[in-house]
Symmetry: C2
Subunit: 249 residues, 2 copies
């Protein structure tokens, strides 16, 4: 039996957003590796070992996955959303580059998933319908000054922006600073969307403006989208639709 690693995306939460190729990989796996709440999204079955670990354990988890595949096991590394967007794919490749040279001969594939930003955008309308950027607001792995520089340049470029990891208990002030930077660079009417736990029973979508936004509207389960200068609302009964037109001047 020859082992492999498939680094897969489980999508934002709903089963109906998991692609058939990811489901097939999970059906063939002997081992599933990932952050505890994501591993728990995979149903237990005979012949499958689920290895849940803490979210600060990414490199150790990646090494374990590569080692098991090298021993002949069929290992699925799970992320929520897409594995290539601030998730496990880069961690596995960091471990691969630094690790046992024999691991490079392994069959390693990345299977994309519905990313949180695309799921959030779909629920709100189409706020990412024109040029946009995607920034991880956590300063655990990069200096805050770099985040702030990127925010200012993104505003100058008039990108719509999708923010991952806006706020956590251990980083209570970063998102407040983010809002301050954006308020300096953008008009107060700029649209901002707080999309929490999209496609789960706890989903909430809140559409407001930079002028009205407060830091407590975001937590670690929130994907934040800031519109460009062109982003528009369509009012109707219920929540407005938010979209960015295809054209710009």
């Amino acid at each position: 039996m020859s082992g492999w690693v498939k680094i897969v995306g489980l999508g934002p939460g709903a089963e109906s957003m998991i692609t058939p190729e990811v489901t097939a990989a999970l059906d063939q796996a002997t081992d599933v590796v990932g952050y505890v709440p994501y591993v728990e999204r995979v149903a237990p079955r005979e012949g499958l070992t689920r290895h849940g670990s803490d979210n600060r354990e990414e490199i150790r988890r990646a090494e374990a996955a590569l080692r098991m595949a090298h021993e002949g096991r069929r290992v699925v590394v799970v992320s929520s959303g897409d594995p290539g967007v601030f998730a496990m794919a880069s961690a596995v490749f960091e471990a691969l580059e630094a690790g046992d040279a024999a691991w490079r001969a392994l069959d390693i594939q990345v299977l994309p998933g519905i990313s949180a930003m695309l799921a959030a955008s779909a629920r709100a309308g189409a706020p990412l319908g024109h040029d946009f950027c995607c920034i991880n607001l956590s300063d655990n792995l990069k200096p805050w000054a770099l985040i702030e520089k990127r925010l200012r340049l993104a505003a100058e470029a008039d990108f719509a922006m999708a923010f991952y990891n806006p706020r956590s208990k251990s980083r209570p002030v970063g998102f407040e600073r983010t809002l301050d930077v954006l308020r300096e660079a953008c008009e107060p009417e700029r649209v901002i969307i707080f999309a929490r736990a999209v496609s789960t029973p706890n989903e909430s979508i809140r559409v407001t403006t930079l002028g009205e936004a407060t830091p407590d509207m975001a937590d670690m389960r929130t994907l934040v989208i800031v519109g460009s200068r062109q982003t528009r609302l369509i009012e109707r009964s219920g929540a407005p639709l938010v979209y960015t037109p295809r054209s710009a001047s």
Copy 2:
């Protein structure tokens, strides 16, 4: 019978990347609307009318979809990849905003898909594993000067970059200019990936550098990814893996 519109993403090409919720929407539809080659990806069946149109017909197609739903039909608007990224969702909302006020009461949903950029990134490794931006290189709906400004600011921000619509017969020079701008702003060793027809029988992935890249490496079916300064190659037998580490300085 009450009508609805679902604006769905068919993913980059492979059936195995179409989400179950999109498949279910297609199973319930009375009408499928879209660009001819995308409509042809939906199998014909009794009770389903397929309306293929030219790719310059987006607004007329969107109006037709809304009109049919208002008449009680169940209409699926198809895009390849994700419908919210340079695709039909924004076109439908433009038509909705400008059209018959009664259309605003319609049940309209966007169902996300695996976008071309995420599929291309997965095939190459994880080049979008850190902060990145996504730019449509077509100047049909925006001035070239704005594209160039965004390219320069994206390079200054050290975003990885995903480019849609890099080159077509009617726009032969834009991508050459794009490469010129990037060569001024980035070092010649910067990684660039040409991912064509990902997940189809014609798939090709080419990894090179800005210094070696030529305009003819891209066409309308190519998704181009330019790495950040941090993007790395892992050499192994066969194509190298390309990834951007999670950390930056």
